[in-house]
């Protein structure tokens, strides 16, 4: 059996997420705030945009009290950039009128990747 066949043999036991072959998926994860938001949503499943803005600010408390200006920036970034990109990649569902965000179900390897992305920050 050649190497390529062996690779497919091994991967046949694990459902390889289709996301891993999709540029839009990698673009969605190519920003720290988005990885952080996704990690939070995977644990929470659903929450408000306000809570996500709080969480993004929570990541910055190492530098002292986080200001209302910073919180506003985070909120605007979420609504106008991060959440639409995460939604386009099929990772979340965002309801702007309700102000709620729901994590869409993803395969376990994707969850693992997102978690690693956030844990790797502390390394």
């Amino acid at each position: 059996m050649d190497d390529r066949s062996r690779l497919f043999e091994e991967s046949a036991d694990v459902e390889v997420p289709t996301q891993f072959g999709d540029d839009a998926f990698y673009r969605a994860l190519a920003a720290r705030p988005r990885r952080r938001v996704l990690a939070h949503l995977l644990a929470r499943e659903e929450c408000s945009v306000e809570e996500l803005a709080d969480v993004l600010c929570g990541w910055e408390t190492g530098e002292g009290m986080v200001s209302p200006e910073r919180h506003e920036e985070a909120h605007v970034g979420l609504v106008h950039s991060h959440l639409p990109r995460l939604e386009a990649a099929g990772l979340v569902s965002f309801d702007p009128s309700e102000g709620t965000v729901t994590a869409l179900s993803v395969p376990e390897p994707v969850e693992r990747l997102v978690e690693y992305g956030v844990v790797a920050e502390e390394a």
Binding site: L42, G64, E72
Partner: protein, 234 residues
Amino acid sequence: MLEGYITDVERRRTELTVYSPEDTGLAAQLATRNATVEHRPLSPAGPPPFVAIRRNGGFVGALDLEEFRALLAPPVVRPGEWDGLAEGYRALLGALEETVFTGLDRRQLLATSREIEDRAYRVGSGELRVCFQSLSSFDAQTGVYRQLAEGSDLAIHVYGEPDWTPPTVEGITYHRDTEGGLAPFWCLAFDGGPEESQACVLVARERADGFVGFWSYDAELAADVLDTLESAPL
């Protein structure tokens, strides 16, 4: 006589949201009268535990949970000696301005008082009126206030029940509260001198289980309290 300031401030709503993987029980520790404390879970991969502070619905700050806990054991630093560590505490005071706290102990009152005295010291001029309930309570403060008076052009007025005769210090005027109206109150008010932005005020009332009170950096409120003290019937 100063009770009205506490009730006015009480009407404003502060919301504290504690974000941590497990509930911290911070709600019980804070025991405030006009602040609600809510817990929301964090992913273990998530940011380190923190507190989001909102006033009347608007976000005013977020702080690391351990730093927030420091409020319960604040630094007590002499005026003019506040350094970077205490700056974090000062920022916390700013965010929690005009929140009425119950269960304050003397150490916390003292720490907040020092913050006000430090401001007054740095500005170097203006009006500072203080009340430590009784003049004998002021005894412990004479060293600090001597330093304040001698190191600045501040007009310092000290109020208290006349159960002790304090030392004469140039720049300090003592007011004997013979009526006893100020006996339950620990209060400091500074008008900011030439810098209105440096005005600050602390009003606290002693109860059986500790002090209830608030602090504010609002210049108008500080001026009001200064007027109240100035025209207090003693």
